[in-house]
């Protein structure tokens, strides 16, 4: 992967993944990994931080005799996710314009 993965982009990915539906750690990690190269240990601190910031909440559900912890978005989390989406659109459009412009002149 050529491009540096900033902390906020990682947050955006996690929030977006959860916007699609509540998920537990393993599934959430696989979802995010589908888009960006991260280690399986990357998400834990991110989830803790988002939770501390009030963007995520957790609840437990029993599964096959053990506990499964699910993460879900709080209203603040949804708002933040929408914000990230908007900013990403702008960012993406600008970079595209620059990179495509480059291509057009080659």
């Amino acid at each position: 992967m050529t491009f540096q993965l900033g902390a906020s982009l990682l947050d955006a990915c996690v929030l977006a993944a959860l916007a699609q539906g509540d998920a537990y750690g393993y599934v959430l990690t696989q979802k995010v990994k589908a888009a960006i190269e991260i280690s399986e240990s990357t998400l834990y601190p991110v989830l803790r931080r988002l939770q501390a910031d009030g963007c995520l909440a957790t609840y437990d559900q029993p599964f096959q005799g053990r506990n499964r912890r699910y993460y879900n978005l709080t209203p603040l989390g949804s708002a933040r996710a929408a914000q990230f989406n908007a900013e990403w659109e702008i960012f993406k459009t600008r970079i595209d314009a620059l990179l495509r412009e480059d291509e057009a002149h080659e």
């Binding site: 540096q4 993965l5 990682l10 750690g25 399986e40 990357t42 601190p45 053990r66 912890r69």
Partner: protein, 203 residues
């Protein structure tokens, strides 16, 4: 290495985290293994890597996050421990060695500079005590000849001792402050590495 060994090593090394948080970490990773399925245990282990470096990075993040807000007093010992925690995380992190080394060198030189200042204040403290006591002793020894001299010397001695005490208090407070500052500075030099572990991008 199997899941149990990984988890116990992790639990063992999370010393800087409070019990509740340690529990959270272990539960998270335990669940992760369970959800991945027994057949995937080895590949998850391979992906997770070293329990030791995960623990170090979690320790460092916690220390850095709580540097200001902790209720524990800023003693020199705690400050030193904080610095060691962050430095350990630097060396555990997958970043270029030159960067890690220079960050550590900066921290170490700052620590030396602080130590030099503290040492001089400490010496002042000791000198105050020693001279103060010596002066009192001398004063008492001439009590037979001149009470006035005794009083003068004794008084002077007490003043010196009080300077010594003041310097002692100053050194304790200053060293706590210095280590605190150095640990904070370290966290600024390495924002990505101590707070966002495992940033694979660009590697």
């Amino acid at each position: 290495m199997n899941k149990q060994e990984f988890l116990s090593e992790l639990k063992q090394k999370l010393g800087r985290l409070p019990q509740a948080e340690q529990q959270d970490v272990i539960e998270y990773y335990n669940e992760y293994f369970e959800d991945a399925g027994i057949e995937n245990e080895q590949s998850v282990l391979a992906e997770l890597g070293c329990a030791d470096s995960i623990a170090k990075r979690l320790n460092a993040s916690y220390v850095v996050k709580n540097i200001d807000s902790s209720e524990q007093p800023q003693t020199p010992r705690r400050g030193m421990r904080d610095i060691f925690t962050v430095v350990a995380a630097v060396f555990a992190a997958p970043i270029a060695l030159p960067l890690a080394l220079s960050a550590v060198i900066v921290a170490v030189s700052l620590a030396f500079a602080a130590a030099a200042v503290l040492l001089s204040v400490l010496l002042t403290c000791v000198a105050g005590f020693v001279c103060g006591i010596a002066l009192i002793v001398v004063g008492i020894s001439v009590a037979a000849t001149s009470v006035g001299t005794t009083l003068l010397f004794a008084g002077g001695g007490l003043v010196l001792i009080s300077f010594g005490v003041a310097a002692g208090v100053l050194v304790t407070w200053l060293s706590g402050l210095c280590f605190n500052l150095i640990a904070k500075m370290m966290s600024r030099i390495l924002p990505k590495n101590s707070q966002d572990p495992n940033m694979q991008g660009g590697e």
